[in-house]
């Protein structure tokens, strides 16, 4: 009896010891704002996979404001010295968090899993701080899509445009047929989305990188930029007066209902078509925006990983590893409507627009046409993005000339640097 009791005590002590040790199961607290139906289902997959490995997932979802609310919470937690294990932070903001010295180093997981081979270099560079992995990419959204209603084009006798000249021609025909050519959401981020698509389509990849990634004042105030701005403003006459302030999904609904011909929006718009029971290539066409067929403007969600207590490190590293596993990449991205950031995944389970995006993603990663989105916080620091967006939205909504707007762009970016 005594022996048994003693053995039991030793056993319990061992269990406690292993629980406390770095190798045992731990807890990850994850801050994110994926709270809507499909998104929440997508996140739940990661939770299940983590729990299968014996770790605990502590959900820390902060809804609302496209992540603004979540960022405010994250800042206060970080200032208080109690950050969660992982938080949904993307683009150059990863560097800002790196500057604060609160991020953990994921190089060991990255090496074991060969992340550098799985993910294009442009993407990997965004996830690294001073050459070390500090964040894990989750999914890829393509921005330069044009969502078209083929019925509208048929009625107007127009064809889906592939150049900006064809685009204007199609707009005129649709307008003459009594429909709205372009479904426009008049909010600064949506206007900036169309603007950057035109920068890529009219200016080309190199110009895009100079103007919107390097924020080079010489490129921002150049004849090419003036041409871009003129093309951008040209669209305004083909939108309806109710556009200012409209939410993107209401604009998508106009295309779905056949009131409008096309909308420029990232691939999350697909979710609206699917929810309305529409089938790609029959009820709607996902075309690459005019002049950008060799380009892929990307918006990538990622998790940054904070330094955590030793007992939770294993759980955190497991989460980082699982995110780039094929199983999670497939299930998550089908639910979210995006494409896997891990290259070389089987296309089978994905729908037609996603397959096209996956093909272009891997092709452009070789040709250099893979470019980060300015409007979606992938390319420049928030202050510079804000400065560019202010000028763009002010130009679109006022009588400012394209030449003056280009000059203002350069000035505003210089002031924000």
């Amino acid at each position: 009896m005594k022996f048994l009791k003693g053995a039991l005590i030793v056993l319990v002590a061992c269990m406690f010891f292993f629980c406390e040790g770095a190798g045992g199961p731990g807890e990850v607290e994850v801050l994110h704002w994926w709270t809507s139906g499909g998104e929440a289902a997508a996140v739940a997959v990661l939770k299940e996979m983590l729990e299968e490995e014996g770790h605990t997932w502590k959900d820390f979802a902060v809804a609302g404001g496209g992540g603004d609310q979540a960022m405010t919470v994250l800042k206060s937690r970080a200032v208080a010295g109690n950050p969660p294990a992982a938080a949904q932070v993307k683009g150059p903001q990863i560097q800002l968090w790196g500057d604060e010295g609160v991020l953990t180093n994921l190089d060991d997981v990255a090496q074991a899993e060969k992340w550098d081979e799985l993910v294009p270099k442009v993407v990997a560079d965004i996830m690294k701080y001073q050459g070390h992995w500090v964040a894990v990419p989750v999914n890829v959204h393509r921005i330069n899509w044009m969502w078209c209603n083929p019925e509208v084009f048929k009625k107007a006798g127009a064809k889906i445009p592939t150049t900006w000249a064809e685009f204007e021609d199609a707009c005129k025909k649709i307008q003459a047929a009594g429909m709205i050519p372009v479904a426009w959401g008049g909010q600064p981020w949506q206007e900036a989305t169309v603007f950057e698509i035109i920068v890529a389509g009219v200016g080309g990849t190199d110009f895009y990188k100079k103007a919107l990634v390097d924020a080079d004042p010489a490129a921002l105030n150049s004849p090419t930029m003036v041409e871009v701005l003129k093309t951008f403003k040209m669209i305004k006459q083909y939108t309806d007066p109710g556009a200012p302030g409209r939410d993107w999904n209401l604009a998508t609904a106009m295309v779905i209902k056949g009131e409008a011909g096309m909308q420029f929006m990232g691939d999350w718009a697909k979710g609206e078509f699917t929810a309305a029971g529409k089938v790609p290539n029959t009820d709607y066409v996902a075309a690459v925006a005019p002049g950008t067929s060799k380009q892929f403007i990307f918006n990538i969600d990622s998790f940054i990983m904070f330094k955590v207590q030793a007992k939770n490190e294993a759980a955190q590293k497991a989460m980082a590893r699982l995110i780039l596993q094929p199983k999670f990449q497939e299930v998550f991205n089908i639910n979210k409507g995006s494409i896997p950031v891990r290259m070389g995944m089987p296309e089978g389970p994905f729908d037609a627009p996603a397959r096209l995006a996956m093909k272009d993603f891997s092709e452009t990663s070789k040709t250099g046409g893979l470019i980060p989105s300015m409007a979606h916080e992938m390319a420049v620091m928030p202050a510079i993005r804000g400065a560019i967006m202010d000028v763009v939205t002010n130009f679109y909504n006022s009588d400012l000339s394209a030449e003056d707007a280009a000059a203002q762009l350069a000035d505003a970016v210089k002031a924000a640097k």
């Binding site: 200012p244 202050a383 939205t393 002031a415």
Partner: protein, 312 residues
């Protein structure tokens, strides 16, 4: 008479001591909370505005850098930088909002003061908008003014096909739609203030003026309105702080748009401090707003306090 008094003072009861001590005890939490959450945070924001804080607060001072940035390209007519647009909008909004609210409120109060039938009914109707929050007002007016849903569509459907009313989506006119919604909301409140003032005027003065043969408009212009001076003062102070704080109405009605044409200092501060990771820059704009409020409130407090001292 003096002896019993002294006896009482020599044996102050415990109740008496509590009576002395209790009021101080009760205000201490309020004072402590105000010291931290009002004055402490004013101090903290001011300090942050002199740093180069971006995403998170930093505490190394950089001087007036943020204020210099705030006032580069600062030109009010026509406004150039986003900050100058916000300042001009605040000026336009405050002046129109205060003047219109007072005119409409005063007129309604004078009409209601004519001892009309069903006064209580009308007073309730005019006061109801005040019971709504600016969020509700903003949402309702956003639909009313939307060219696809509201007035424009209604009148076009009535057969006037050429009718256009597109202030909400016109960047030069959008600021006036905010004035309309805000006046609709607040003029009933001003009415209540003036009505109380009117009821406080001594009837005999008005009767005396009538006996002297003064016409009704003359009585109002020369006697009633001048004697409402203190009501004007409180109405202006209350409306002024509503207009400087105006944030929710703008966020709901126009979201600062089209572009940033209806930005106000409060929405400007929010955008920079919380959306764009320029904490120090946002703090600098908040300090400027604070100074503007101080410039109005301090003379007011000064005149109020001097008034009470004279009264004693």
């Amino acid at each position: 008479m003096q002896i019993p008094m002294r006896n009482k003072l020599q044996n102050p009861g415990i109740l008496h001591r509590i009576e002395n001590f209790l009021p101080k005890l009760v205000v201490i939490p309020t004072i402590a909370v105000a010291a931290v959450f009002i004055y402490g945070f004013i101090g903290w924001t001011t300090y942050i505005s002199f740093t180069d804080s971006r995403l998170l607060p930093k505490y190394e001072l950089v001087g007036f850098h943020q204020y210099v940035r705030l006032f580069t390209n600062f030109n009010l007519f026509p406004p150039e930088s986003r900050w100058s647009v916000a300042v001009v909008n605040l000026l336009i909004f405050s002046v129109l909002f205060i003047v219109l609210c007072i005119i409409i409120g005063l007129l309604l109060a004078i009409f209601l003061d004519q001892r009309i039938r069903g006064e209580g009914f009308f007073r309730t109707i005019y006061l109801y908008p005040m019971a709504l929050s600016f969020i509700v007002t903003g949402a309702a007016w956003r639909w009313i003014l939307n060219p696809d849903l509201g007035i424009e569509r209604l009148i076009q459907q009535l057969g006037f096909g050429d009718f256009t009313f597109r202030w909400l989506v016109d960047s030069n006119m959008a600021i006036y739609t905010i004035v309309i919604a805000a006046v609709w909301q607040s003029s009933g409140f001003v009415l209540a203030l003036f009505l109380a003032g009117l009821r406080g005027i001594d009837d005999s003065i008005i009767k005396a003026a009538k006996v002297d043969g003064a016409s009704l408009p003359r009585i109002y212009l020369r006697i009633v309105i001048p004697s409402l001076r203190p009501v004007f003062l409180s109405a202006v102070i209350i409306l002024l702080h509503i207009s400087i704080k105006s944030f929710d109405l703008v966020m709901v009605l126009t979201r600062g748009g089209p572009g940033f044409s209806t930005d106000m200092p409060a929405t400007f501060m929010y955008a920079f401090a919380f959306n764009r990771g320029s904490l120090a820059f946002g703090a600098a704009s908040a300090v400027i707003m604070f100074l503007a409020v101080m410039a109005i409130i301090i003379p007011y407090l000064y005149s109020e306090l001097r008034g009470t001292r004279n009264a004693r």
